[in-house]
């Protein structure tokens, strides 16, 4: 199976990886991130903190690896032989890849993480018992656990600060797993609006917080099933396969103009996020 399976016949793909009895689902939410446009400014990460009520854990816990950034910018220094101020870096915005065949979903003992029919890997906080098997099995390590009781004992949002919490999103308590939801609260509102007007969600009608905040518009989000959507077009243009050799050569050398990949695609989780950049064989 290739990337085209996801693009062209989502329902059929879901037939192999069933989540529900919905035969023809009109939505498949997906993302594409243009790494050539990403400047690593972290605005997406900040927006995510604000939108999704993420606790700011402080320096000490951050250094312990207990940060709660659903959206994180991974920075990789170029090995170009230059010293720090001149040294180049590559950035990789990383959030839950909303895998279609998600490794986290099958292992949860209580079924707290599930696939929605429209392709979002959802997390049910009330059901989670905190076994952390999902995180153990996530190849991207994009699941974040509430190691402390942030809202109460840790008092991350003291009086008045709690006025800035987003009322559409729950504040998670101690001992549950959480992760990027593709801003499911916004998606749901848009879907409900569309449904009440008897239509489908238009492209661009729903934006994720990170997409909204991105100054270079590197992030696109939309419905992959809709052939007119920006995401669909980007995925369609960059119809890359697992065989990456086509991208490591220029067109004159027998390669192609394609750029794009999905991270760790060889593990076959079918991630829903496409990164647009040419695959190179070596670091810069």
């Amino acid at each position: 199976m290739s990337i085209s399976t996801l693009l062209e016949n989502y329902s059929e793909f879901r037939h192999f990886h069933p989540v529900d009895d919905v035969p023809h689902n009109p939505y498949k939410w997906a993302m594409s991130i243009d790494l050539d446009a990403c400047s690593g400014c972290n605005a997406c990460s900040v927006a995510c903190y604000a939108e999704n009520n993420l606790p700011v854990v402080g320096r000490e816990k951050y250094l312990h690896g207990q940060a709660m950034h659903w959206m994180r910018i991974e920075r990789y220094w170029d090995e170009d032989g230059r010293e720090f101020p001149d040294q180049g870096a590559q950035f990789l915005p990383m959030m839950c890849q909303q895998c279609e065949a998600a490794p986290c979903e099958t292992v949860c003992p209580v079924g707290a993480t599930n696939h929605t029919p429209d392709g979002i890997n959802s997390q049910i906080y009330n059901r989670c018992i905190g076994s952390r098997y999902c995180s153990a099995n996530c190849p991207y390590k994009v699941r974040y656990f509430n190691w402390y009781d942030y809202p109460t004992t840790d008092n991350v949002w003291p009086a008045e600060m709690n006025q800035q919490l987003n009322p559409d999103v729950t504040v998670r308590g101690k001992g549950v797993m959480e992760k990027c939801t593709f801003c499911i609260q916004r998606v749901t509102v848009a879907k409900n609006n569309a449904k009440s007007e008897g239509r489908l969600v238009h492209d661009g009608e729903v934006q994720t917080a990170c997409q909204q905040a991105c100054p270079t518009s590197a992030i696109s989000f939309g419905n992959l099933v809709d052939p007119e959507s920006r995401v669909h077009k980007q995925w369609q243009v960059q119809k890359v396969e697992l065989d990456k050799d086509a991208q490591t050569k220029d067109k004159e050398e027998g390669g192609s103009d394609l750029r794009g990949y999905r991270i760790l695609e060889e593990l076959r989780p079918y991630p829903s996020v496409m990164y647009l950049e040419r695959v190179r064989e070596t670091a810069i």
Binding site: G65, P109, I129, S131, Y144, N146, D149, K174, G175
Partner: protein, 460 residues
């Protein structure tokens, strides 16, 4: 060297074993006190962790599992030898197991109970633990039957309940002996209730034998499947260093290995504490040591197979984890595990050491240290060296809270075990009598044939 003296009177057996319920050596109270102190440490750590959050155990994003899961596997593994001794050797008619199977069976039950506690300690929201059980409910919300953790929960529950049943059923004739020999008091009432009116009639013995054999047959596949399922927690995942097909047999071998080593340790302790020198003899120790050595070699083989499969496989990530184990921050523990697991058992080859009590005590503890390290080396390095560089975290170490709870679990096990041995007969009286009887009959027969042969008769 005989496994047991063949001229012990039956009344003497009763007397010796019943004495263990009343006046053990002073060492018993020392061990019990140390065990309680260790449990105290663990309870303190757990209270702190429960009220503050799992963060105090120094878990972090890649390191979501730690010593709790490693020690959980260790205790599950420990539980396997009771079944090996009492069920497998029972079916194979190896009668030397008879004086020692009772405490091995108790070890199974109590190590399973200890392992169960680690599930609770590990969970983020332990108060919702019943979500993992398929209990009937109005909203028809079921657990996820695909998850190896759910299989774990079911397998362990089944194994625990069956091994408690096995332990109890096997004890009924002995409980009747206790009942008949006790002065009135709470003990007498307890034994009377538990002995279920056992009188030793032919019919009771017949039913008893059939029941015991049935449970034994039921328990053997269960024991193998429990640890295979624990292995599936790792083998079914997609992580480098875990996604290995040979894990289930490897885990079962490791389980039998650590269990046998623990039997040697407890054998030596019980023998001294309860003055069981007549029953837990050097001949039997020699047999368990040889059995342990054989299992150690099976484990070593499967361990090397695992390394070879990873090394010659095409999975670069898994190979990196293996290299990381041997050279990274976990290297001292990894090498110690290989040393304790594969080199130390070679001491058991020497006949002189097979019955050398201090040496066997040291060896058995080292073997179990190695097996505990093995479990830790399965769990932790995979987290420290995941699929791609951003997820690498080589400097996260378990905090004192984790160490305290792991430390205390040994005390908890010791506490349960020691209390059991004081309340219930830890040597099976009726089976030792059988053993003595059969052995002496066999000797008589042998002597008779010998005499006949000497007299020139029966040469054909």
């Amino acid at each position: 060297m005989k496994d047991i003296r063949e001229d012990i009177a039956w009344a003497q057996i009763n007397k010796d074993v019943l004495k263990s319920l009343e006046n053990p050596r002073r060492m018993y109270w020392v061990i019990l006190f140390i065990a309680i102190a260790m449990v105290g440490v663990a309870v303190g750590c757990e209270v702190y962790q429960y009220t503050t959050g799992l963060g105090v155990a120094n878990f972090s994003n890649p390191h979501v599992w730690g010593l709790y899961i490693a020690t959980f596997i260790f205790w599950i593994g420990m539980s396997h030898s009771g079944t090996l001794l009492s069920a497998i050797l029972h079916l194979m008619h190896a009668d030397w197991r008879k004086p020692i199977y009772r405490f091995a069976e108790a070890m199974t039950t109590f190590s399973l109970m200890t392992a169960g506690l680690f599930v609770a300690v590990h969970l983020g929201r332990v108060w919702q633990i019943y979500y993992a059980l398929p209990y009937p409910n109005m909203r028809q919300v079921w657990p996820n039957f695909q998850s190896p953790l759910l299989w774990d929960a079911m397998a362990i529950f089944t194994y625990l309940s069956s091994s408690i049943l096995f332990l109890y059923v096997g004890m009924i004739p002995d409980l009747a002996i206790c009942r008949d020999n006790m002065n009135p008091g709470w003990r007498k009432k307890l034994y009377t209730a538990l002995a279920l009116g056992w009188e030793g009639t032919d019919r009771q013995w017949r039913n008893f034998r059939v029941t015991y054999l049935t449970i034994a047959c039921f328990l053997i596949p269960l024991a193998v499947s429990v640890h295979s399922i624990v292995a599936s927690d790792f083998a079914m995942s997609q992580q480098p260093g875990w996604h290995i097909t040979s894990f289930p047999p490897y885990f079962v071998a490791g389980a039998l290995y650590s269990g046998c080593a623990a039997i040697i340790t407890l054998f030596i302790i019980l023998r001294y504490v309860f003055k069981f020198e007549e029953y837990m003899t050097m001949g039997i120790l020699k047999k368990i040591v040889r059995l342990t050595f054989a299992i150690a070699m099976v484990w070593t083989y499967l361990n090397l197979i695992e390394y070879a499969a990873v090394w010659y496989g095409h999975d670069q990530a898994a190979k990196d984890v293996l290299i990381q184990k041997a050279t990274g921050p976990y290297a001292p523990f990894w090498w110690a595990m290989n040393f304790c697991g594969s080199i130390v058992p070679l001491i058991m080859l020497f006949k002189r050491f097979q019955t050398h009590i201090p040496m066997m005590m040291a060896v058995s503890i080292l073997l179990n240290l190695g097996m505990w390290l093995e479990r830790w080396m399965i769990v932790a390095p995979t987290f420290s060296h995941g699929y791609y560089p951003w997820t690498w975290d080589h400097d996260q170490w378990p905090s004192l809270v984790q160490w305290g709870i792991v430390f205390g679990s040994f005390g908890w096990f010791g506490l349960l075990f020691m209390v059991f041995c004081k309340v219930f007969p830890s040597v099976s009286m009726y089976e030792v009598k059988e053993m003595v009887y059969h052995r002496s009959q066999a000797t008589k027969k042998l002597e008779a044939t010998g005499k006949m042969a000497a007299a020139g008769k029966g040469a054909h």
